[in-house]
Symmetry: C2
């Protein structure tokens, strides 16, 4: 695994192995990678807290590793998992962290006039503004 | 979008909107993000070449944006796409860049004895060693 491109880290994409849903993306350093392989539970390195953390260690919503793939240049990981606990992976209580849709078409349609393209309106699954 | 955590970049996960397959992961800076939204084609910032590149600009295998999601802390993007051209997203000619499976169970089983856990044998989809 090539940890050199990102200062000792690689992005790790977590995907539900049954639904195919992308649940979250975290970062692993070499220690997190080894712990993930050894324990069978997804473990990340937190950039903001500067520490290792096994996803679900407090909530119980652990991510049980079923398959791991590395990409063609060996600097990114895809982990297919089964969700434990209540199955809500995001700390906000959502199933996935990717619950906020950016209206790509809408942005393109309004790009000419109002400068909203990159910071255009965002809606959560509940329709609330998440910014 | 919060580009501050990764020196001006965010990871962008590209997923086939029909099959759910995770095809590749790249990085976007603010310019790549805006171009992706404006053009409807996935554009990255290359860390190794230090330049913007629209995926498929030479191969024709462009990635047409259908839906975009940001994650709960606004520092990662999930792009659901339709594949153009021959549909092989990886520069190696594979459909997805994640064609190399790391035997997670095997690694755990052999972790005690031979130190293979983090760098254990890797197999491509064709069974060749990819290291």
């Amino acid at each position: 695994m090539d940890f050199s491109k990102l200062d000792g880290l690689v992005p790790a994409v977590v995907q539900d192995r049954t639904s195919g849903e992308v649940l979250m993306v975290g970062f692993m350093n070499d220690a997190a990678w080894r712990i993930t392989l050894d324990t069978g539970y997804v473990t990340f390195f937190s950039r903001t807290r500067n520490t290792l953390w096994t996803k679900g260690e407090t909530s119980g919503n652990r991510l049980a590793v079923r398959q791991i793939f590395t990409d063609c240049d060996d600097d990114t990981v895809l982990v297919k998992v089964d969700r434990e606990g209540d199955g809500n992976v995001c700390h906000t209580g959502q199933r996935s962290c990717f619950y906020t849709e950016v209206p790509a078409d809408g942005n393109r349609q309004t790009a000419e006039g109002n400068g909203q393209r990159a910071t255009g309106s965002r809606q959560t699954a509940e329709g609330k503004d998440a910014r």
